[in-house]
Subunit: 647 residues, 2 copies
């Protein structure tokens, strides 16, 4: 490339938005070099290798040639974006250098904004199963001695068309006092149930004055094996008021569902696990309510999603049969429950709706996730991968859905990793390594001092280590590179991602050989899962139109890096969509919309479960995938090309 | 009459069944005198006044003239019965003297046999809402990974046509273990609910082998203000296995519903009253199950009847509004409940069905009682009086029903009376007093030593005391009779019913002026109730065809004596039927038959409640009735005649 500069054919003017005067540029010069000469700093975390995409600039006018389209979507291209380190000048140009934040957001598949979008056209009156109506009852008199309940019921029937109303004994006990204290003017909150002809369930009767101005809130909960997520929503507007997530406290009793099930089978283990997950959930409810300024008593409905083992443990149902051949659950389609009987610290007569699962290893998280991903309505063949501890995958479309699960372990959620953490403030969520110096550049959530590495950070880090030659394809660290970043620690070779001076704890943040091995096993399990699913149904991965990624990665996952380590199939990155935590999103949609809830039930009934444990081909596929990116490089042509270029 | 003997017209032969030879009898001689001459003892507790009916004999052949038909029903007459003390010989006759037991049973309106008759044509398969079916489930396999619940539900649907099955979380928790321990062969007990399209409620899943040979039992409970009664029935055959009754332990916190309601309103009073009635019920359940050899866990259904206050207190619903104008209840039509939530010590997932009431003072005891009495199907105008603490009365027919209640107090159940007791072993249940000697003859339940006086005994005793002149019409004891039976006790004048030597305690059993006053007030309240009801509806008591008596009197009530004290209207005694505890009987019918349960609900909806407290005429009627039998003797012509003859 440098030979082109010896015989300059032309000199062009490059106008950068931050400069008063244009910079003179030789034809064929890289934009990044022209910028540097003019004093404009463009970040290049990957060392100018065109891998990180962080040097993207917008070409407002003029002619350029993009040597690499990596990291640029068709939308990006249409908007004029180009990678400054990979784009040469071929005429007078005007360049806008966006602030780093905008680049980051643009280049990540970041669909989960901090503010969750309310489903378009949400109308609580039409789709919400919970209703609150204010009733002015005719007080009893000697001419009208109807009982309190009948008085309430008939007035509610007239006012809201509620044909049948169910109440608990406790509610009947409290009714008379509320009616009289309120002067017979009450706000009645009830849930109309799942089906059109279900009896309505009374949630609450309160004085109309007391209820005035108080919100009616709901909770969408996803109980992951590793992470529990809760969204607090205003049921009237549909708006998510607060999101909260925390590690499932059950982790201390086992990292995966199998070890939890074993623990549950010992003595009071089941009760203990139940208490732990309830503590976790209730901590989130308290935190979310506290931050949103909502009284937990105003939270009157919850939809709960999670894998089948998590649902069993939450409800105190022994999960033992889930782990024993022939692997069956106690109950996939659970009834509506009272918050009080479940133990969730919201209004005790609030309705808890446990979403339906399909099988032992394809639970409500996947049916809810499939809804959130729109799988059930997809016109073309779609692959949905829930990148989590249990690695569930669904393949199909509006016509058919097959699903499987493979135990990936908790690495993607930052658990079981020396310096792993959840995608939370202080987590390193993306890493770029300079291919010459092996120095990393890290993006840390909240722009805080580093506290650890979250799942997306791990994927990014391992991909960069591999592409820069720090790791070989077997995942071994090369100790001969002559960089202080690579050293020997208590668990063997390790790479220092952040020095003590840059971290919150004041200790180095490292990734160890053991961590890398965990991540490689995790990605191999997931890769093996969807390849076996494709093989079993005779669908080629080439014919898959879209790949939807779910998982608790925080705000984003870097698709190219996930392809580079062999986690995702090697497809153009614009075929991917990262949907974030689809399980909690599905629970949220079911919370808002009765029809969405019914759709999840239809998905659960329609989905065919393929049991991988009965399938030898799974183990073979897993073993083949225990390399970076894979033993069979022909499956990853783009990675093969990148390692040839940059490695 | 004695002048006929001076000129004997003829001498006849009277053949008594116990004698080898006939006795020669003067024409016109009383049978009882002829018998005495022949050495045949015929009992005459009332001293030959024709009042007690205990001297009834059967005239097998020959001509006699009955001077009094008192105590003889048309059926008795058709069978040839005659009172030996009131019947003269007018030809050769053959006489059978029945054993005293037969007389007693025949002459009491004793429809409640110790063994309750199962409703004719009872077919559990057709009318019972509880079912138990044995299912052999296909065990799960790798080819059939349906969840445990779906497996159970589909098999049950095929085997028993159950479309929807509801279970508690606790039941789902236990399901897997039972299915596996039983080798997938289980007995499933469920209740199909009240309505045809109700979801079935799962009661129990047990191993088929474990269930084999075990009965399926139910409980009919009547919670009286004073007495709680429970019948334990076999749901398959409908047979009542055991009856048990005990004073409601709440009595110690107030004798009538008003004082209970006041007590319930103070601090933890409501909880205390609930515990007390539950203790009472559970004691009865334990006793009945123990005596019948039934495991309380095999008691899977209970119907509960009682007045509205008792129902509120049992279920922990504050009854305060019942006693305050405008006197309304919290809920008359209560939902099906779980035994566990109610607190009845049967199978905790058993179904408890609280029967529906009409109003604050016309509760489930009356609707169930009306069913048991057949009021809802009566072709002609019928008066139904529940002689209990609350004195509920229903007037009507298949076409219309009106009801009222008046607080009678607990005297009829033997409570609030110096030597009062329940109709139980050792209770004096009927008394005859010799009009010349004032000596009483007592019938004691169980032919035991006297322990006290029950309700029917009190009525009988007071009537006899009045008819023999021991009491005047104001209910005052005549201290001038010169009998040691009348004396002055700590509460004023009293009459000794049984001397210490005849009693179990070794103390005299007496009736005091205070007791008599209580009884008179109680009977006045009831009499006033139904007269006001008749007046309010414009129905004359003369046009009432049948009078049905319910109440906890044990096996019987003596109708004539009840008329004599002015408790019942003065109608021919064959118009009366004593039905015993109609409330528990109605609960029993509802326990057995879904259609009977539905009928009670229809009765409750159709019955019009008349509030007496808003009715000045009630107080006037009550005051007029505070005499024996009444201030207006023209209302009691038969009593006027008897007091003229015998008093």
């Amino acid at each position: 490339m440098s030979e082109g500069r010896e015989i300059p054919v032309a000199v062009y003017a490059a106008q950068f938005d931050s400069l008063a005067e244009p910079v003179a540029v030789d034809a064929g010069e890289l934009i990044v070099d022209a910028a540097r000469r003019g004093g404009v700093q463009i970040q290049q975390p990957c060392g100018g290798q065109g891998r990180c995409g962080r040097c993207a600039v917008r070409v407002e006018s003029g002619r350029v040639r993009r040597r690499s389209l990596l990291r640029l979507s068709p939308t990006d291209l249409a908007a004029g974006y180009a990678l400054a380190c990979q784009t040469v000048v071929e005429g007078d140009i005007a360049i806008v250098v966006p602030p780093p934040e905008r680049i980051e957001r643009r280049l990540t598949t970041d669909h989960v904004a901090p503010e969750v979008a309310v489903p378009e056209g949400y109308d609580a009156g039409r789709s919400q199963s919970v209703r609150r109506v204010v009733l002015r009852l005719v007080p009893p008199s000697m001419d009208d001695q109807r009982d309190d309940w009948a008085r309430l019921e008939t007035t509610l029937r007239r006012a809201a068309g509620v044909e049948r109303l169910q109440a608990s004994l406790e509610q009947v006990r409290g009714l008379g006092a509320v009616l009289r204290a309120s002067g017979w003017e009450v706000a009645v909150t009830f849930d109309t149930g799942r089906e059109q002809d279900d009896a309505a369930r009374l949630i609450r009767v309160q004085g109309a004055a007391e209820a005035a101005g108080r919100p009616l809130c709901g909770l969408a909960v996803d109980i992951g094996t590793t992470t529990v997520t809760a969204w607090l929503a205003d049921l009237a507007t549909g708006r998510v008021l607060q999101q909260a997530a925390e590690y499932n406290q059950q982790i201390s009793r086992g990292e995966d569902v199998i070890s939890r099930i074993i623990y549950a089978g010992k003595g009071a283990g089941g009760a203990e696990l139940r208490d732990l997950v309830l503590d976790t959930i209730n901590g989130l409810v308290a935190a979310a309510c506290g931050q949103a300024g909502v009284d937990p008593d105003d939270v009157v409905k919850a939809t709960v999603s999670g894998n089948s083992t998590m649902m069993h443990l939450l409800l105190g149902i022994p999960p033992e049969s889930i782990r024993r051949e022939p692997f069956v659950t106690a109950m996939n389609h659970l009834p509506l429950l009272r918050a009080g009987e479940v133990g969730i610290a919201m209004h005790s007569d609030g309705v808890v709706d446990p979403l339906p699962g399909v099988a032992s290893y394809v639970g409500a998280d996947i049916t809810a996730g499939a809804l959130a991903a729109g799988l059930h309505a997809a016109p073309q063949t779609t692959l949905f991968i829930d990148v989590g501890t249990n690695g569930e995958t669904v393949l199909g479309s509006a016509e058919w859905l097959v699903a499987c699960a493979c135990s990936a372990g908790p690495a993607f959620e930052g658990a079981g990793i020396e310096h792993g953490m959840r995608a939370d403030r202080g987590a390193i969520e993306e890493v770029w390594i300079d291919g010459r110096t092996y120095e990393p550049t890290c993006r840390v959530i909240g722009r805080a001092r580093a506290r650890g590495i979250c799942g997306s950070g791990l994927i990014s880090l391992v991909a960069e280590m591999f592409l820069t030659g720090i790791l070989d394809k077997a995942g071994r660290i090369d100790a001969t590179l002559g960089t202080p970043r690579v050293r020997t620690g208590p668990h063997g070779a390790e790479y220092v991602v952040a020095w003590a001076g840059e971290t919150e704890s004041g200790e180095d943040v490292v990734i160890t050989t053991v961590d890398i091995d965990n991540l490689v096993r995790a990605k191999a399990a997931i890769y093996a899962g969807f390849t076996v699913l494709a093989d079993a149904t005779g669908v080629s991965l080439d014919s898959v139109d879209r790949i939807l990624i779910g998982g608790s990665f925080g705000k984003y996952i870097n698709v190219e890096k996930a392809i580079e380590i062999g986690l995702f199939p090697d497809k153009p990155w614009d075929r991917f969509d990262y949907l974030g935590n689809t399980s909690v999103r599905g629970a949220y949609l079911a919370l808002l919309d009765r029809e969405a809830r019914a759709e999840i039930a239809r998905i659960a009934s329609a989905m065919t479960y393929i049991e991988l444990s009965a399938d030898n081909s799974f183990y073979e596929a897993f073993t083949s995938a225990l390399f970076l990116p894979h033993t069979d490089l022909s499956r990853f042509p783009s990675v093969a090309a990148a390692t040839t270029n940059g490695g």
